[in-house]
Structures are given as C-alpha cells and as structure tokens.
C-alpha cells in the first residue's frame, strides 16, 4: 500500500526525490504522512482537495483487501 501511495504521489509532483512517506500502523488502521517539497504541496492537494481525495480513494481500494482503515495526511 505504501508503494502505491508513493507511486501516485511521485507521479503528481515535480520533485519526486523530495517525497517521503512515513507509516504508523495500528491494529485496525494505518496512518500515512506524506511530505513533499513546498512547491508541490498545492499539486498534491489539487483544487478543492480533488487530487488528494482521488489518491485516498485509490489507496482505500488497496486497504479493503487487507481489511484496514487508512488515513492519509499531507504535511506542509
């Protein structure tokens, strides 16, 4: 799931090398925190959060298979 999130985020940004993702795994839920270059923050969010929401939707599809809840946060 982390690879998927990484793939999606890196495909969107201009500076893929500055993308880092940390993972906190609980029993039922996983929290991912994405860090990107400052200039890329807007690109990952998108207008009205559309891009980050699309990313969330796709990652959740992967999470369903593992029976876990996923939340994705973007650190500015």
């Amino acid at each position: 799931m982390k690879e998927l999130l990484e793939l999606l985020t890196k495909s969107i940004v201009d500076k893929p090398d500055e993308v880092s993702i940390s993972e906190v795994e609980g029993e039922k839920a996983i929290v991912y925190e994405i860090k990107v270059a400052e200039s890329d923050v807007g690109k990952v969010i998108g207008k009205h959060g559309r891009i980050i929401n699309a990313i969330r939707t796709i990652v959740r599809a992967a999470a369903v298979k593992e029976g876990k809840k996923v939340s994705i946060e973007l650190l500015g």
Partner: protein, 238 residues
C-alpha cells in the same frame, strides 16, 4: 416534428411506420421501447401491441455547452503546462500504460491492460478476473484512477487527449442503466411538469443524462451543486 410514438404488432413494424411518418432513415433516429409486446389469451384477449418512441438524433448548442462544462469540471480546470518531454520513442500511450500497470502491480491484481489511441481520446481497457476491485462503490475508485491519470498526463506532459479508463464492460453497463434512469425520470417530468433532481453523480454520468435527454422536446437538463454533490435537474419547458 422531432419524435413520434408508434404502436405496432412488433418492433420492426412500429419502427417502419414511425420512420415513414418522420420521413427519415434508421440511421437518423434513436429508438426507445416504451411498452413491450404481450401475447394475450388465444392471441387476442388482453394482448398488447409494442409501443416505441422514435426520435431524431440531434443536439442543440445549449446542451453541448453544458457537456463541455461538465467535461472541464472533471479534469478540474487543469491547465496544460508541459514541462516534461517524452523520452525518445515513447508515446503518451506508453506513459499511460506504464502508470496504470504500476498501479495494478501495487494492488497485487493480475490484469490485462490495453491502451488504444483514438482521435480525441486515449482508451485504457482493463480486463482480468480480479479487475473488479478497481471499480469501487458506484465506480468511484475507477473514476479516481481516471482523474489522476488525466491530471498527470495533462500537467506533466501537456497531453490534450482525454483518457478514458474502463474495466471490462463496466462503463457500457453503467451507461445503459444511467440512460434508462434518465428516460424514466424524463417521462415522469413530462407527465407531472414538475422538475425532478437525480441523485448526485460523477461528471461522466451527468454527461450521459444531458446527451440522452438532448433529443427530448419539452425537457431541459441543468447541473446543480458543486463537487461530489453536483447533480442533474430534469425540468419541463414549454
């Protein structure tokens, strides 16, 4: 005259009569079956003819504007700003295929991905037994994937063609059911003359509703609301 409602013993007969009335050929019209034929007792008591609605294929400009608006809505007013050039001998289709393939390998789903270039669109067809996981509730996962693919291609590569992602025959099935819904609500509106709102749906589905009903006299369609809550209102016009 844009449409006729015609009865007949079977669909072919009704269609033939309707085409004569309209003075056009089969290619110019769409046909909707309103009532299907029913065999009566002994072939006559309680039997019912076929009833069809035959209407000209046509689109007025106002509908096209709305459809355009919905299309723009979908890619989120993304401005093409190409700053990544394609490597040598790599086509946009290759980039799309590579991206979608990677997404599926991350999902650990085996599937066949075929990318076909059309005149205005790039079609991504996904097949395979487990490919259903990517559809999601009301196709929202599939729409998210399509949206992201479009954003990446438009922003990074300045791609101008619209990318359409499809799993098996999902889109076609969806189209059929949305058309059916649109027509049945339109009939209700024609009777009651009161506007009806459809449930919120993604841009593609709204587009289907606008297109399907663009041939109806006395029916107007508009979109209302923003984002996920955008929905089509079907109303009566004189």
């Amino acid at each position: 005259m844009n449409e006729v409602i015609q009865e007949g013993r079977n669909k072919e007969e009704a269609l033939k009569a309707a085409l004569e009335k309209l003075g056009v050929t089969r290619e110019d019209v769409d046909v909707e079956v309103l009532e299907t034929h029913r065999e009566g007792l002994f072939g006559f008591i309680g039997s019912r003819p076929v009833k069809i609605r035959v209407f000209l294929k046509q689109h007025d400009d106002s509908n096209f504007n709305r459809i355009e608006e919905d299309f723009e809505d979908e890619i989120g007013h993304v401005q093409g700003n190409p700053h990544v050039a394609y490597p040598d001998n790599v086509t946009p289709e290759d980039v799309v295929k590579d991206f979608v393939t990677k997404v599926f390998s991350c999902l650990e789903v085996k599937c066949d991905i075929e990318v076909i270039e059309g005149e205005n669109n790039i079609y991504v067809d996904i097949g395979g037994d487990d490919s259903g996981v990517i559809i999601g509730k009301f196709g929202q996962t599939l729409d998210a994937l399509q949206f992201l693919t479009n954003v990446i291609m438009t922003k990074k590569y300045g791609n101008k063609k619209k990318i359409l992602v499809n799993v098996g025959d999902y889109r076609q099935r969806r189209e059929t059911s949305v058309k059916k819904l649109a027509r049945s609500v339109a009939r209700k509106v024609l009777k009651s003359k009161k506007p009806e709102a459809l449930a919120p749906m993604p841009p593609q589905d709204r587009r289907i509703v606008h297109l399907t009903l663009s041939t109806y006299d006395h029916i107007a369609t508009t979109s209302e609301g923003t984002g996920k809550n955008r929905k089509v209102i079907i109303s009566y016009k004189d």
